[in-house]
């Protein structure tokens, strides 16, 4: 037992969530044509998909090499973050209850994966090529900038700096989850919070888009829960969350701009839209 079991567990739970969500938010009527629809949509979105794949591959390398590099070229900002916000995360944790811990632990692992993957599947099923491309580009920008920050900034999370005040709630309530999270991230990579930025990115895109309107409340609630969970579980600082939100805003703006550019140059697609108004309407918060 070990990592594989946890991965399978995540796949099973998230798969079930997807199934339910597809039925609820995409509709049964699309399922017969689903394979063909997905294939053509994914093909249409292959450039951002390949780019995202490249960024994720780089992520793998950066996790191995970047941590070492980070200690050489990076700045240790843990002390500065602590000077800014002090024991805010400890204050968040003071409201901990077993039920809340279970909820936020679930959201942090399963909810997060579901939140990030479902819109991609839904867009593909609904053949919303433009929205899928925007989503993938936004993910790529998030990861790209996030990884750059991880190399430039060395920061430990609150549970590492003030273990006497902040509990590692996730790992204490579910020790095996650390097998998973340590595979995905290093404990010096907390600034900014990619959990926050990617979750907020999804929330922003679904809120601004017009194809998954019924799912939008789910996305917003889930994203907010993910954001809170990063602090509640003692993994991220409030500063990381703020920076993550800013990163989400930048990513969404950049992705929409890229897509708008493409639409203008290439004549766009069926769901071509004027994005200028949208960009001016700044991101909330």
């Amino acid at each position: 037992m070990g990592l594989l079991d946890i991965v399978l567990e995540v796949v099973a739970v998230v798969g079930a969530l997807h199934l339910v969500s597809v039925l609820a938010f995409v509709g049964l009527d699309r399922l017969p044509t689903a394979p063909r629809a997905m294939w053509s949509t994914v093909r249409a979105a292959n450039t951002p998909l390949v780019a995202l794949g490249a960024v994720l591959a780089a992520n793998g390398i950066v996790r191995r090499v970047g941590v070492e590099l980070s200690w050489v070229v990076g700045v240790n900002v843990t002390g500065a973050i602590y000077a800014i916000e002090g024991t805010f995360v400890a204050a968040v944790q003071s409201y901990a209850t077993p039920a809340a811990t279970a909820y936020f632990g679930f959201v942090y692992v399963f909810g997060y994966v579901y939140l990030l993957t479902f819109p991609a599947i839904a867009y593909a099923l609904r053949e919303d090529i433009g929205e899928l491309r925007t989503l993938l580009i936004a993910y790529g920008v998030n990861y790209g900038i996030g990884l750059g920050c991880y190399v430039l900034f060395v920061a430990y999370g609150p549970r590492n700096l003030m273990p006497e005040l902040v509990d590692s709630l996730l790992f204490e309530s579910w020790p095996r989850s650390q097998l998973l999270t340590s595979q995905v991230n290093e404990n010096t990579n907390v600034f900014p919070s990619l959990h926050t930025s990617l979750a907020v990115t999804v929330a922003l895109l679904t809120w601004r888009g017009d194809s998954l309107t019924r799912w939008t409340p789910v996305a917003i609630v889930l994203a907010a829960s993910v954001v809170v969970s990063t602090m509640y579980l003692g993994i991220h600082w409030a500063t990381d969350v703020v920076a993550g939100t800013a990163l989400a805003a930048v990513s969404v703006a950049a992705a929409e701009r890229v897509e708008a550019q493409r639409d203008r140059v290439g004549g766009g697609g069926a769901d071509c839209r004027d994005d200028r108004d949208r960009r001016d309407g700044r991101v909330p918060e």
């Binding site: 191995r64 240790n76 843990t78 006497e164 590692s168 790992f171």
Partner: protein, 642 residues
């Protein structure tokens, strides 16, 4: 002289200041600027405390934060910086980039001579745990040297005086000796209570739980292809969950920043002797030795017959002599070609030029190993007499101390002789460091009871029993003292987990047999709740210390350090941080019979008592103490001129 026309440099500086628009220069009074420039402004004393994060070390960072709080109460701008343990050791032990650090030392200080390399000023320039503090005190040097060559009353007195000097001048502050807490499952292996898991011998002393089926017979050899992280749960694999990932990517016994206590490399590499339970050094790889009581002493060591390296090459006396040369200077005087050193008349010692440069290699920088320097400094020369016999000449010391030098790992010459060149990165040589010190040494070729199988950097490591080792199939009488046979497991798998809590969780879930690194006192209830998991607590541990960088002001001032030490309340730390699972101490030798009664901990430090009570600093007393030490306060901030 104040009225001398300003020099060009000053004028240029003044002009620059004008250009930058500062008010003083704008007044045009250049002379005044210059006069004032002699008086540097006074700034608050700023100290950064480095320590490993909670994931890697259950206590260090909490100690650091509490100490920083006390320092701030005394008007010092103190900050805690978490750095990974590997980076901490690199910054502190190799680069000396630190003010204060909090860490557990690698040595348990069970012998007074362990202080020699830690504090003697001859090691100020040597990287590693050799005087990392940059401490130099002539009295301390005298006592350290005396205790090496004296016996009886004279030695006891020197050791006593040494401890007084340390307690007064505070090269480092001993905080406490923590308990070594582990979670262990007894369903597959037992003998945990007697096993010291900070030493290789502890793992060798474990037993297979008796009702186990004997399918994994000792002769089962793993096929070379299955070298991944051993997920198999067959009874013959001992599975460790560790929080220290360094051993999975580096197994170089000389790389100080990758080693905590050297257990893994200690299982892969044998030494001539090992430290038995009673603290004496007993033969291990050596079949026997005799030490002449001459001055200085000389040891004649006979190796065990048929000793081999993991790659099948025979282990000879030549390897032993080479090891001592290499540890003393890993460049082995690279100017000489290797042949000059090795193909001599048996007197090959690395000093290719002969006996007149016994002091070192002239015109060439020595690159000593950052580990083992204390022990290597006891050796004058190691010489192969024939294939199985080595003669080791020591420096002036008593035989009891000299034989400590026989506990360094023996390295294969055929592997390490190619690592004496300056290390290069992309063909560019970088600094005075040799390949021997920077190689990750994977796969390691040793002669120890376990050999390397495979590793996934930062994730896992697998070792297996080396069936040609002398422990396997040895007769009862041929076994070293305190060891009752070969390892009880065929394989040892090490899996890295994120934190102590996870390590305990992995053990209680049955996915590992023991936490391979000590865990924090906060996990004790969790271990206690699990039925199949035993709580194993050992009290023979190295202490946590606060180290000071004595090479930089104001920490170069012993009085300042002494006053700093008085801001640390060990009782509070033991109660709050260690939850009582530690014993406060005044001197590093607190666990030995060498402590004078006046230096025993009885709730207060008799030499540097806490400036406050119940964990609260008395700000007035602290200010008085620093003022007496020659420092001053400005609005409650401790200030000094830079």
């Amino acid at each position: 002289m104040d009225h001398r026309p300003p020099s060009r440099l000053t004028r240029r500086r003044a002009l620059a200041t004008v250009a930058s628009g500062t008010a003083v220069a704008a007044s045009g009074c250049v002379g005044r600027v210059r006069t004032m420039s002699g008086w540097e402004s006074r700034n608050q004393v700023t100290l950064s405390i480095k320590s490993a994060p909670a994931d890697e070390d259950p206590y260090a960072l909490r100690l650091g934060r509490q100490i920083a709080e006390w320092l701030r109460s005394a008007g010092i701008d103190a900050q805690v910086t978490p750095v990974s343990e590997q980076e901490l050791f690199r910054q502190v032990l190799l680069n000396r980039e630190f003010d204060l650090f909090v860490a557990q030392t690698p040595t348990r200080f069970e012998r007074p001579d362990s202080l020699y390399s830690l504090l003697h000023s001859r090691f100020v320039e040597t990287p590693g745990w050799q005087n990392p503090f940059g401490y130099s005190d002539l009295d301390a040097n005298d006592h350290l040297e005396t205790q090496r060559r004296a016996t009886g009353r004279e030695r006891a007195e020197a050791i006593e005086r040494l401890q007084y000097v340390i307690a007064r001048t505070q090269p480092f502050t001993v905080v406490a000796f923590p308990d070594d807490i582990r979670a262990a499952r007894s369903d597959r292996f037992d003998g945990w209570r007697g096993a010291d898991l900070r030493s290789p011998a502890g793992y060798l002393s474990l037993d297979r739980t008796t009702d186990e089926k004997s399918e994994g017979s000792p002769t089962t050899r793993a096929t070379p292809t299955e070298s991944g992280p051993a997920e198999d749960s067959s009874a013959s694999t001992l599975r460790l969950a560790v929080t220290d990932r360094r051993g999975t990517s580096n197994l170089n016994p000389l790389a100080v920043e990758f080693r905590r206590n050297g257990v893994l490399t200690g299982l892969v590499y044998d030494s001539l002797g090992h430290v038995a339970g009673d603290g004496t050094v007993e033969p291990w790889l050596a079949a026997s030795w005799s030490v002449d009581d001459t001055e200085p002493p000389v040891a004649r060591v006979a190796l065990r017959a048929n000793a081999t390296w993991h790659d099948g090459a025979p282990l000879t006396a030549e390897d032993v002599a080479f090891t001592y040369d290499l540890l003393a200077d890993t460049s082995l005087d690279s100017e000489d070609d290797d042949g000059g050193n090795t193909e001599g008349d048996g007197g090959a010692t690395g000093d290719g030029a002969g006996t007149d440069d016994a002091e070192g290699i002239p015109d060439d920088e020595e690159v000593p190993s950052p580990r083992f320097q204390g022990r290597i400094s006891l050796v004058d020369e190691a010489r192969a007499i024939d294939d199985r016999h080595v003669e080791i000449r020591f420096v002036e010391s008593t035989p009891e101390i000299a034989v400590r030098a026989l506990t360094v790992p023996i390295l294969p010459k055929h592997v390490w002789r190619d690592r004496t060149d300056p290390a290069a990165l992309g063909g560019i040589e970088i600094g005075s460091v040799t390949d021997a010190l920077v190689t990750n040494n994977i796969p390691p070729i040793g002669s120890g009871p376990l050999q390397f199988v495979g590793n996934t950097p930062r994730t896992s490591l697998t070792l297996e029993r080396f069936d040609d080792h002398f422990l396997v199939g040895a007769e009862e009488t041929a076994l070293p003292d305190g060891v009752d046979g070969p390892p009880a497991f065929d394989r040892l798998s090490v899996r890295v987990v994120g934190s102590g809590v996870s390590a305990v969780g992995v053990v209680t879930d049955g996915d590992a047999d023991v936490t391979g690194t000590a865990v924090g006192a906060d996990t004790v209830p969790r271990i206690g709740r699990s039925d199949e998991t035993d709580l194993v607590v050992h009290s023979r541990t190295p202490p946590y210390v606060v180290g000071y960088n004595s090479l930089a002001a104001p920490l170069s001032n012993p009085q300042f350090r002494h006053t700093l030490a008085r801001l640390i309340d060990r009782s509070t730390l033991v109660a709050d941080v260690f939850d009582g699972y530690a014993r406060a101490a005044v001197t590093p030798l607190a666990n030995t019979e060498w402590v004078p009664d006046e230096l025993r901990w009885d709730g207060v430090d008799p030499v540097a008592p806490f400036l406050g009570s119940d964990g609260e600093i008395d700000a007035t007393s602290a200010m008085e103490a620093f003022t007496t030490a020659g420092y001053s306060y400005d609005e409650g901030r401790l200030v000094r001129t830079d």
